[in-house]
Symmetry: D2
Subunit: 240 residues, 4 copies
């Protein structure tokens, strides 16, 4: 069983009727919903900015194998203490899936070591086509060679991230941009997957292929608990 | 001084008047021309499929620091003996710049260890935009964040190459495709740069930014002669 | 179920009584034995240089998900036709585990695109310690932070391979050398794992940790059959 | 000309007579000295923890192309404000060479996105041999295939760093450990080189090969000023 916590900033849905109409249970609700119905051995809970400690207490994180993160306008409201707690758990093996504008979240920037918020963007409803550049990657399994999203926010390079450990998808936008849209990183024992699509004003998280990518990614960034602890610090020679 | 040999299949230009008109001195001639005028410390020669031993004798390769390769329809006419000779020189440090349809050349496939000929393609004069995804890479120096080519042959993913050691450019095509267009590999001491643009029917090699990329790439894939030879084979313990 | 074929040159065991004593059923027999007893859902067969077509006919390869390769002195006796057949299957998703001196086999060199036979070596019974440098990598699972082999053949850098896509183990030798001992590559749909230990004159393949690495690696290089075939060749625009 | 600032914590040399004897002008003084005498076009200055603002004011960083960092016991005394300032400059292209225990400095951990302070260590004067695993890498130029240091502090894996973009050296220690000792990273426009050797109680920075590596690294992590600024933020379509 993989224990998933879906975290959402949950601001747009409460403040904008059009977006509430699109995601009546919040983006977190929509994501939790398809994860629960996936047929996979997942246990899913949600948390938002409006929960105490962002809903990411030590207890919750101790019971989380994979954290999914959606945020956009209120990154600055996530307390550093919560960010540091999440960071520690990732170092120890918790997986992270950072969606869309989570590229600018405190936790993603802290993991990247760059100003990963930097990129080009435009909200003009461009068509997006995500092309898979690694067909046998587990995250691409069953998805097919491309995902077509009729309308999305455009993101464009240069995206200020370190070179991904694994690059799975590259996006094409009708306005002329390309973007590294599916990027895997490892930080200590924790795996991270950044996945670009999912602007709040489009029904992206209802797309079956997008859902499949996220389901696959949950399984990919899941790291089983450490069986044989590694030693750190002062040691005697292994030859003795 | 960097000694460059520009190799060209040189078939289209001799067989098709339109292409001869575009590249009257051959594609190799056009490339050699801008390299000579670059102001860099380059010594440039050319060779073609129609020269004896493809113009790539041991003597020529001994005097070549960087080999530029353009081929398309006649890959199969390059003798294996010549391919093996080029391969050995690359292993020992000769740089290779594989242009456009050279992705399917014997030498490039031999270096990749894949069926790198596999990709999507279409000759419909799509617009191509190459986006730089590594702004401070030496190959991108002075080029700017994108190169717009009004018309080019389209190449599309999936491109059956190993994950590049360094990915510098990603192309956008107006017909909906993306492509990893600027890829660096190292094989033993030799550096390789694959650069996508340059279909024979378009004036791509007259584009100043394309020229700048190739000039930069020559300098980047150049490896100075080995100063301190490395040992291989049976050895005594280094502790003795 | 993962269908495994263990291939062995099977020369030392037939020609040298000491080695026959160590591996009475051949190295392939010893490896097949622990794979069968692993408790995993494996179906295991073996093949050797002395079988017709090296035991690697189209039929056998069609029924092989993962090929394990051990060879040393007779690489040159494997026909190019067999090598090319194995190469094609790897491109299409068959996994390969290349053990020890298989670094110099025709198939491994063809996949690497380098003279991967080049390295330092010495048969003086040095102690080898393999250190894991990627603790949460699936290939290292349950192995612990190091494997100590009291006696092994020494391999030393520089090892003429491309930069691994993933580096899992680095070896230490008592004579002063280090070596990149656990290297993952992808070539088209096929995954490759090179694993250094296993000289014929030492009981390395009876070591439980070495066995665990090979069992893990079988699962890691296994690629399920392609579900959604990708298109290659001439295409129409995806926008139509 | 490359403008270098050598930063040193400068605590051991002031507090321990033995170390002062070894490095009478401080480790920064010793490093600055060989850089000045290198014959390269370098302009060298130094700064320490005991200078105001650690000697790393905006003015100094504006005039610094490459920053070399040595620190050990007093990482916590470097103010976050200084760390953030250095971080910003690296994002914009300043190179960083992190030496030895700088793996645990605030700036290096911030760039890595991991708890890079974690590793094994032992001060027993083990012999260290650094093996080059990328012979034609510019940082290895003229160094030869190994560097032997008769006595050094031992560092051992697992070293909690992200997979290096480029791995140049691997260390062997007589007590049985290995370590990834020469690691290149890129963060936005800035290049970073981590180089392991240089414990304060050994004369490591007087070793000619170690000096050559640092001289080469200065040239390698140097990024020329951006010629063609890249755009970030909201953009119009490039097609218009």
């Amino acid at each position: 069983m993989i224990r998933i916590t879906v975290w959402n900033e949950f601001a747009h849905e409460q403040e904008d009727p059009d977006i509430r109409k699109l995601y009546p249970e919040g983006i977190h609700g929509a994501i939790a919903d398809f994860l629960k119905k996936s047929g996979e051995d997942f246990k899913v809970r949600t948390a938002t900015l409006y929960d105490e400690e962002c809903g990411l207490t030590e207890e919750v994180l101790n019971e989380t194998d994979v954290l999914i993160w959606w945020g956009h306008m209120r990154h600055y409201l996530v307390p550093d203490e919560v960010v540091n707690r999440v960071f520690e758990h990732i170092q120890n093996g918790m997986g992270l899936i950072a969606l869309h504008s989570a590229h600018q979240s405190k936790i993603f920037e802290k993991l990247m070591g760059t100003i990963s918020g930097d990129l080009k963007w435009r909200e003009t409803g461009d068509k997006e086509i995500l092309w898979c550049v690694d067909p046998s990657h587990p995250i691409a399994r069953g998805v097919g060679e491309h995902i077509i999203l009729e309308q999305e926010e455009t993101y464009g390079e240069h995206f200020r991230i370190p070179t991904p450990d694994e690059l799975v998808f590259i996006s094409w936008f009708s306005g002329g941009e390309v973007f590294r849209s599916g990027c895997v990183y490892k930080r200590s024992r924790g795996k991270i997957f950044y996945f670009r699509p999912g602007h709040e004003s489009y029904p992206t998280y209802y797309n079956k292929q997008v859902q499949q990518v996220i389901i696959n990614a949950v399984k990919y960034v899941y790291t089983p608990a450490e069986e044989v602890p590694y030693g750190y610090g002062m040691v005697e020679s292994v030859l003795k």
